[in-house]
Point group: C2
DNA sequence: TGTGACATATAAGTCTGACTTTTTGTTCTC
DNA sequence: GAGAACAAAAAGTCAGACTTATATGTCACA
């Protein structure tokens, strides 16, 4: 994905951000800009820019005469794509993955329902295309190809919902699905029932059946929750 | 709320951020750091820090030899609390309010269901306290007092869900509810049915009845959608 | 012993100017 | 007209001097 090393300050962020989210500097820890600048071998101005960005993510707070203090985890802006990526790459990856999957289970059914109302003909076409792609790659250890279509499918749903905030969750869902294939329990071919559900969702959206699209998508997300042993009933 | 004018760069952000989100500089517009620094009467270093923050919000992109270009709206990080505040204060406030209300309708029922499972005794107590506060202020034009308890109620639900991402939406919900009372259609006393629903949710959570808590909360959010003429059935 | 005012040290904040690097657009040549 | 060399423009980086807020320690006084 986006290799985010633009400029020296970006390079510093890629090192310091994960360290903070990983708990390497526990909340309350105090850092000093000058010391950090020395450690990363950059000028103070560059380090200041990095600190400003961390501050805008609510990861740290910069105060005069005190330094740069790490904020408590509860205040972090966990919706920031960068923060999400850092946490997914770090130690509390499982925890983050659970949070995101629960979020998916809340958002995606509603998004599917909205898509059934608002989706354009082109989006419906793209959706069925994705579903067919999933079917075509559902057997024979073609997990990567399957993943591509799976991600595309959910992206279309979120975009077609017409809600800008749902649309912005496309990257997050992509990250979760990719994580499931690459790191978690996805060694064999995907569950045939799940594949069928995707096809049915595409059909429901095309037919404009909002409640059916919502319900079917709910079944998909319930499956995702169960995969992570998050009980729903 | 948080008066975010910390430092010169914060002051610049409070002026430049809303201008961008309001579309004053349409996507594709090119700004130059030096010119901005002159206009805001700050040094280049301060302006650079401000630009870095805007960049981390995906509002702008800074490229050599070209300048600071405003990104297309679809790429903005609309989950950033700062961005949400700027947009709520600007011209597309109604649009933003709708997006957020739809998001609420997705998240809050699930959060309530989770709360019924995970809420501590203290949280249950706080919840019923909030509900009682709403009842006590539901008549006689005590809208401000009602709002305080309403906000507190939804915050407790989101926190008690045990999901860190839901918990972070507390501020957003607070902003939406406050907006409804202060700017939108809330001239008279709140709908008695809504008040009753809150009491019932508190009761369902205390009883550990997840599906009932979820369903009741769904009714609350459906009401919020209807207030904004967003049809659900 | 406690409390208030005052002094001091500290780290962030700010500004300026010089220099570097990347990238775009032009121009020159074949 | 295609491609290479060149020049200009804007961001990027750095170093150093200075300012400002503020936490903390000190000391007099009650």
């Amino acid at each position: 994905m986006t290799t985010r090393g633009r400029g020296l300050h970006g390079h510093v962020l890629e090192s310091l951000g994960p360290a903070i989210t990983a708990g390497e500097y526990p909340p309350g820890s105090v850092l000093r800009t000058d010391e950090l600048a020395q450690r990363f071998e950059v000028s103070r101005s560059v380090m200041r820019e990095a600190v400003r960005v961390l501050e805008s993510m609510y990861l740290v707070e910069s105060r005069r005469r005190v330094g740069v203090t790490v904020r408590p985890k509860a205040e972090w802006n966990v919706f920031d794509p960068q923060v999400i990526r850092w946490r997914l790459a770090g130690a509390d990856r499982p925890h983050q993955l659970r949070s995101l999957t629960v979020l998916r289970s809340a958002v995606e059914p509603i998004a599917a329902g909205l898509s059934a109302r608002h989706a354009t003909a082109a989006q419906c076409a793209e959706l069925t295309e994705c579903a067919l792609g999933m079917v075509a790659n559902s057997r024979g250890h073609k997990l990567e190809e399957y993943l591509v279509h799976d991600v595309a499918f959910h992206r279309v749903i979120l975009n077609a919902s017409g809600n800008e905030m749902f649309a912005r969750l496309g990257d997050v869902v992509a990250e979760v699905l990719a994580g499931r294939t690459h790191h978690e329990v996805m060694f064999e071919d995907p569950d045939p029932a799940a594949v069928t559900l995707h096809v049915q969702v595409a059909e429901a959206v095309r037919a404009g059946d909002a409640s059916r699209a919502e319900e079917l998508t709910r079944q998909i997300t319930v499956g995702a929750l169960q995969e992570l042993d998050i009980l729903a009933p």
